[in-house]
């Protein structure tokens, strides 16, 4: 126990602000995300992630959002296991034939108003996995999409900025 506490104490706070890293004004964007979440989502934005056919590369970076460096919770964002609690769906693709129905059902199970963000080159229809017998392709071919985040996979910073864009 002592060891555990010591490690926590020694590590301290490692969170970085990466919002708008490539933009001019980091501070403004950072507070903007928190502000919008406070106003539009009463301080808490709940996300359900759906892998609709990904290679799992995109998921690695979505996981990283939760680590203490990016610490997405600092903005009031948290991930849920149930679409019924979700405000936003973060969907990776390409949508496979075998996931099409599950994706539609998950979308329907999410209460309106809801936002959908397509993640990764595949989810945006520009990845290596274009359409074939097994894949339908971009997320917006199956459900309506509000914002797109490109990259293979997109970095955690790109993901954060993309989510901001979607809720703005």
């Amino acid at each position: 126990m002592i060891r555990t506490l010591f490690q926590i104490f020694k590590t301290g706070i490692v969170t970085e602000n990466v919002l708008g890293r490539d933009a001019d004004n980091i501070e403004v964007l950072g507070s903007k995300l928190s502000k919008i979440i406070k106003k539009r989502f009463r301080g808490s934005l709940t996300i359900r992630q759906i892998d609709a056919g990904s290679c799992n590369g995109c998921e690695l970076e979505i996981h990283a959002l939760n680590n203490s460096i990016y610490n997405i919770e600092q903005y009031g964002v948290r991930f849920t296991a149930s679409p019924r609690f979700a405000d936003l769906l973060l969907v990776t693709g390409p949508v496979t034939l075998n996931m099409e129905i599950a994706l539609k059902r998950t979308y329907e199970a999410t209460p309106t108003p809801k936002l959908v963000v397509a993640v990764g080159d595949c989810g945006c229809g520009q990845g290596i996995f274009d359409e074939n017998y097994a894949t339908i392709g971009a997320i917006d071919k199956v459900i309506p999409v509000d914002a797109r985040i490109k990259g293979c996979p997109p970095t955690p910073a790109a993901l954060l900025n993309g989510i901001l864009q979607a809720i703005s």
């Binding site: 290679c55 075998n98 996931m99 074939n132």
Partner: protein, 499 residues
């Protein structure tokens, strides 16, 4: 430079199952079973591994009859391979007691065989009616829990069906194939020198290992000699991928056992590694940097220094975190004797990688089937016998330490010179084979050129194709709430399995 040794021989169709029996008697494992189509016939292949030596048994099947004798009576693992052969190529394994589709779903048209040459890649499949016969359990107090495909948290999709009595699991059946992207079909229209990109996206968390296996198989076909510096840097990428995934997964297992500090601490170390990758080679996961003939990302003196400093830091912190893992009674309670895969079961299923090593099997293709530079390294392979969640964690802890040692060794002796040479195109009607020990275990690629020299078939076998079955066995008699923990401790790939 040594390449993967493999012996291929052809037997008549009526001897195919008999050779499986002989291999089994010798103690060989079934590593893979797959099919291919050439102009006049189908081919079915079975690949066996005995003490690190691979033998491929091939047989020809007439296109009119399209069936062969199942080897699933000798090898349990053959069952899913053969279901997949039937689902995607339409060659039936006679005698396999399970004839349900695998990867292909019941709502596909029954006569859609995507891997057949007359099936166009972009065919639009119309859904049809169909049912899947789940395994049923009956009896008083037995109830069923279906989970997925969209299941807990940030995870790949799969369906799990539990039969339980009270909290105890009496049966688990997996249903996979949700992320099937037709990768093997895509290969048929992919140029040889581009194929590494597809391989690098078979399972994104193993991008280095898969693209490396593809490249080695192609280089074996063409006789391409990769410069020494490239081979060494490839190994460094591979070991870094092993460390990164092990760190993240050990943390995630801690988290599933309600001990989240491990997750946050280890993810911090993982992030360190990814950032160094980005800084040195322009990609956090070193994707697309291993290409046929070598690599396209080098390192300079500063870079070497940077890695050495980073490793020192990771090593020191990791040591402390392992102590925290080791000395925590509340964790012990969850991970000890949970999700046991016995040695006998591991042998029977032919599981590979850290899963096998946690159940007492001393296998690691970096040692038993080494390519350069592993043929010049002495690698310590950790083997544990308990077969539980804790043993799988410990194998990975030891492997993190060993990979750190290997990377240091490789960096300190890095050969100078070129990092890439031109890889020629393979001649017609040739095959190439490669085995790479990724962080999950043995990855196999088998390539075949057609009569014009283009890709006829690329068979990719992720460790998960064998290890998923191990999970089904390990959860028996465990309680349902321990399933996430067991699942995480195997961490099989959905994408790598579904292709």
């Amino acid at each position: 430079m040594s390449v993967n040794k493999v012996l291929t021989y052809t037997v008549p169709a009526d001897k195919f199952a008999g050779t499986a029996f002989e291999q089994k008697k010798k103690g060989a494992f079934l590593a893979a079973e797959w099919s291919a189509e050439s102009e006049n016939y189908f081919e079915v292949y079975a690949c066996y591994r005995l003490n690190g030596e691979y033998q491929i048994v091939r047989t020809e099947i007439s296109k009119e009859k399209a069936e062969f004798d199942s080897i699933s009576g000798y090898y349990l693992a053959a069952s899913r391979f053969e279901r997949q052969i039937y689902s995607l190529m339409g060659i039936k394994a006679i005698g396999n007691t399970d004839q349900r589709p695998w990867i292909k779903f019941e709502d596909w048209p029954v006569d859609a065989w995507p891997l057949r040459k007359n099936f166009k890649q972009n065919t639009v499949l119309r859904r049809s009616e169909g049912t899947y016969d789940w395994i049923q359990a009956e009896g008083e107090g037995v109830f069923e829990i279906p989970v997925g495909p969209v299941h807990a948290g940030i995870i790949e999709p799969g369906h799990f069906r539990f039969q339980a009595v009270g909290e105890a699991i009496i049966n688990l059946e997996e249903r996979l194939g949700y992320v099937h992207k037709g990768i093997e079909k895509r290969y048929e229209s992919t140029p040889w020198l581009e194929g590494y990109k597809l391989a690098g996206r078979v399972s994104g968390d193993s991008t280095v290992a898969h693209s490396l296996a593809y490249c080695i198989a192609l280089e074996a076909m063409t006789g391409c000699k990769v410069p020494a510096r490239a081979a060494w840097l490839r190994a460094i990428f591979l070991e870094r991928e092993r460390i990164a995934n092990h760190l993240g997964d050990i943390g995630a297992i801690g988290n599933d056992a309600a001990f989240s500090i491990l997750l946050y601490q280890l993810m911090r170390l993982k992030e360190m590694l990814l950032r160094t990758n980005q800084l040195l080679w322009g990609h956090r996961y070193v994707m697309d940097k291993i290409v046929p003939g070598g690599i396209v990302a080098d390192i300079d003196k500063n870079g070497i220094e940077q890695i050495l400093t980073e490793l020192k830091k990771i090593e020191k912190e990791f040591k402390l975190l392992v102590k925290i893992y080791d000395g925590n009674p509340s964790l012990e309670e969850r991970v000890l004797t949970t999700g046991i895969l016995s040695k006998a079961q591991a042998l029977e299923l032919g599981v590979v990688g850290f899963v096998a090593r946690a159940s007492g099997l001393d296998i690691d293709s970096r040692v038993q089937n080494p390519f350069s530079p592993y043929d010049q390294l002495e690698i310590k392979v950790p083997v544990f016998t308990a077969g539980d969640v804790n043993a799988r964690v410990w194998v990975r802890i030891e492997e993190v330490r060993e990979s750190i040692r290997l990377i240091r060794l490789l960096l300190n002796n890095l050969p100078s010179g070129a990092i890439k040479t031109d890889c020629p195109l393979p001649p017609p009607n040739k095959t190439g084979f490669a085995v790479v020990e990724g962080w999950r275990g043995e990855i196999i690629y088998w390539l075949q050129s057609d009569s014009k020299g283009a890709i006829n078939r690329c068979m990719a076998r992720d460790p998960s194709a064998l290890n998923w079955k191990g999970l089904e066995y390990s959860v028996l008699d465990n309680i349902v709430p321990d399933f996430p923990l067991c699942n995480k401790s195997f961490n099989a790939s959905y994408a790598g399995n579904d292709l």
